[in-house]
């Protein structure tokens, strides 16, 4: 299996999804060797990890972040990191004994193609997002589009993390829908950390005691995530319920723009920025909130609303997200409709009944979710392709 990151060294959801999928696959008796482009101290009993480069994650991440490809490929050149990864993957595939090549997202697609050429093994490409998602609905980087196009064309099978992503692959790259299957991401609640007694956002707790509401967003601050849309809605919410605080957790290329925008909109006192957080500060941001909002322009899956309810916080998500396909107990809105977004946030904050029933139902839904179902679907795909395409 080819991937670009694994927890604890991950810049976003991709690493977590790979890790959880592998863990559940292993429980279903799949033997996995995972190839990473940096050295990790990740210890686990369910798979073997190869590192193709002696650099640490800390040095590596500055060179090539999985989400910000266009920033790093400004010169239209494949980076040294990718090339050395490809060389190593090809060697590993040639000298080992494998049944399937399974590669996650565009950064590993070229390596997968080379390994397939070298070994003739079937190639399954797992798509967590396509370039137009990451570019917030725009065309994105032409070279990344080309890599995705070539890889998806040559793939024996494509796995999409949502129906939405499946449609995007078909539309963007003219891939027949029957070549693409959906395996949704999931969560295992016993894998998630729990909150401790004291929330780190003490000031926000005080405000809550004074009758304030806390609405939070956690994620990268990029065009894909539509925080600018959320702030425009926030202005309308604050006009109706002045005692509302928007907690923005994360950083990204829009960080400065979003700080400026909140001042432009006259809601500077009501928007609090924490920068990038992990661990307790990350968990407690879910915990302190009354409502979590994921207003993404395009979210291939989007696991955060499930994490939010794990910490007791219901969500408002955009219809343009994969998670909205599988998660019923949340508010939903089109990402462009800021009036409706504001309307739903106000409605939610004003209704204890809505808050309680959403929370209760969402918790029940969450309890039924597991990676095991997704792993079993994946195993079926392996069985089909490992013995050759059905004629």
């Amino acid at each position: 299996m080819l991937g670009w990151e694994l927890p604890p060294h991950n810049s976003g959801g991709l690493g977590v999804a790979c890790y959880q999928l592998c863990k559940s696959l292993a429980k279903n008796n799949v033997d996995i060797e995972f190839v990473l482009p940096y050295v990790t101290d990740q210890k686990n009993e369910f798979m073997k990890i190869h590192s193709t480069s002696p650099v640490s994650y800390k040095d590596f991440i500055h060179k090539l972040n999985v989400y910000e490809g266009s920033k790093y490929l400004a010169t239209h050149e494949i980076t040294d990191e990718q090339l050395s990864y490809e060389d190593s993957v090809s060697d590993i595939a040639t000298y080992g004994a494998y049944d399937i090549i399974h590669a996650h997202d565009w950064l590993t697609f070229r390596a997968a193609i080379r390994a397939k050429k070298a070994t003739g093994l079937p190639m399954i490409l797992h798509v967590h997002s396509v370039e137009s998602d990451r570019a917030g609905g725009e065309y994105g980087h032409p070279m990344i589009r080309e890599i995705e196009s070539l890889g998806l064309m040559m793939a024996d099978k494509i796995i999409a993390v949502s129906e939405r992503t499946r449609q995007s692959i078909a539309n963007d790259y003219n891939i027949p829908l029957d070549k693409i299957s959906v395996v949704h991401n999931s969560v295992d609640i016993d894998e998630l950390d729990v909150l401790d007694d004291e929330n780190i956002y003490q000031y926000l707790e005080l405000l809550k005691n004074k009758g304030y509401n806390i609405v939070t967003n956690i994620g990268r601050l990029t065009i894909q995530k539509n925080i600018t849309g959320l702030l425009h809605a926030a202005k309308e919410v604050i006009a109706v319920i002045p005692k509302t605080i928007f907690l923005i957790v994360g950083s990204g290329d829009q960080y400065h723009e979003i700080i400026s925008l909140s001042a432009d909109l006259g809601i500077f006192q009501n928007v609090i920025f924490t920068g990038f957080q992990r661990g307790k500060a990350w968990r407690d941001a879910f915990g302190i909130a009354d409502l979590f909002v994921m207003p993404s322009v395009s979210e291939p899956f989007g696991i955060t609303p499930l994490e939010a309810i794990n910490y007791g916080t219901p969500s408002l998500v955009s219809n343009q997200s994969g998670v909205s396909e599988v998660f019923k107990s949340c508010l939903k809105v089109n990402f462009w409709d800021k009036d409706e977004m504001a309307n739903q946030i106000v409605g939610f904050l004003r209704s204890k009944g809505l808050q309680n029933s959403l929370r209760m139902n969402a918790e029940i839904e969450l309890g039924k979710m597991s990676w095991d179902k997704s792993a079993k679907k994946m195993v079926k795909e392996y069985e089909i392709h490992a013995r050759g395409a059905l004629v």
Binding site: L206, H256, S260, Q269, T274
Partner: protein
């Protein structure tokens, strides 16, 4: 005919806000306490500026004052700087006191906290001016008679206020748009005032030293005392040359290596060589010269940037929201009677905080960036607003106690 140079130096340092996050809000109220390892921390800056500027400048000034009986200087020193020197460099404060003890150094009035309060709360502004007067009286033993507002921010209303408050004079930027066909080398009367006189900065001569002195790309570089005084001596229709600049011009903005201290040392005797040339403090100039015309400044003029307005402090919405937020708390904060809370609130009024949030020319990495302890204006804004949230937290706590 008698001609005079009025040399006026402004000394100020703010209490910069450290990297103060939302996780500190409600827990730690030490916005201004930087760790010793950080070079932009308040104590480190005081030590650095003292060594590079205040100490050598004061040494030079005392030498000149002792050597040349006619040499006079005016200076302003903010309350925030005085308290920082008291804490971290008492010997440097003593050197300022020694200057004043010569009897030839006049201190100019201003707000204690180097704030823009005049434009937001007259009551708060007057309290800060009063605080500053009392501090100056207790440290230097003199009562200021001439007023300057923070950043030389000036308009008709300010002049009328200063006139009614009994000041003999007031200082402003000698900006062309205000002066029109006139020049800054005379005294003026602010419109609608009775007694007060106005001294306007000769920005060309001042900035030749303050900004351009060490600039090797400047076509007048290198500037020596003979050339500089030659320009002044040649000036027609002029009697008062107002050289207004930051104290830190000497040794900090213009490093010692540029020769700026030698320039200062030579300039004084070269000027005094010619018959009729002298130095005066600001109020001596007010006493010795008559006003030549009335000056009308309806829009605020400052000494910053090519715009000469308040846009370096209040130009973008982050700055406007931040300063609005601070003054919104005025009555609630004052009502608590909690002096440490009130003092922290006043320290956050210092204009430098808003200057750090300036996004004008941010992308060019110009002079604004040089004076900021933060990497970006956004970082400055976030730290500041977090401190503001903590003021709120403390207010809530106070009200619960009550």
């Amino acid at each position: 005919m008698k001609k005079t140079i009025v040399l006026y130096l402004h000394a100020h340092q703010p209490y910069r806000v450290r990297n103060y996050t939302i996780f500190d809000v409600g827990k730690k109220h030490d916005y201004f306490n930087w760790s010793e390892s950080e070079p932009n921390g308040n104590k480190r800056v005081i030590e650095k500026v003292s060594e590079k500027s205040y100490i050598p400048t004061n040494n030079m000034l005392i030498k000149l004052l002792n050597k040349h009986p006619e040499f006079k200087v005016s200076l302003s020193i903010t309350g925030t700087l005085i308290t920082e020197l008291e804490k971290w460099a008492p010997d440097v404060l003593q050197s300022f006191v020694d200057l004043c003890a010569t009897g030839k150094v006049e201190i100019v009035a201003e707000t204690y906290h180097h704030s823009l309060a005049f434009f937001y709360s007259l009551q708060e502004f007057e309290i800060q001016v009063q605080m500053h007067r009392e501090k100056i009286e207790s440290v230097f033993g003199q009562t200021p008679k001439v007023f300057r507002n923070t950043e030389l921010a000036y308009n008709n209303d300010l002049a009328i206020w200063a006139d009614k408050s009994g000041y003999k004079g007031i200082l402003a930027e000698g900006w062309d748009n205000v002066l029109g066909w006139r020049n800054s080398n005379h005294l003026y009367r602010p419109i609608n005032t009775q007694n007060i006189k106005l001294l306007m900065k000769n920005y060309k001569l001042s900035d030749d030293v303050a900004f351009r002195f060490g600039d090797k790309n400047w076509n007048e570089w290198p500037l020596d005392a003979e050339k500089y005084i030659g320009w002044i001596n040649e000036a027609q229709d002029s009697e008062v040359f107002n050289l207004f600049m930051d104290y830190e011009t000497f040794g900090e903005h213009q490093w010692q290596e540029t020769g700026v201290f030698d320039f200062l040392e030579n300039m004084v005797p070269v000027w005094l060589e010619s018959e009729g040339n002298t130095f005066m403090t600001v109020s001596e100039a007010m006493d010795n010269f008559e006003v030549s015309d009335v000056i009308d400044v309806p829009e605020t003029v400052t000494w910053a940037d090519t715009e000469r307005d308040l846009s370096a402090w209040l130009g973008n919405s982050m700055q406007q929201e931040a300063i609005k937020s601070i003054y919104q708390l005025s009555s609630k904060i004052l009502k608590t009677g909690d002096w440490s809370l009130i003092e922290d609130w006043r320290r956050l009024q210092t204009s430098d905080h808003f200057y750090y949030m300036c996004t004008k020319y941010f992308n060019d990495g110009d002079i604004h960036a040089y004076f900021s302890p933060y990497k970006t204006p956004y970082e400055a804004a976030i730290n500041f607003m977090n401190a503001w949230h903590d003021l709120n937290f403390r207010l809530h706590e106070k009200r619960e106690e009550a």
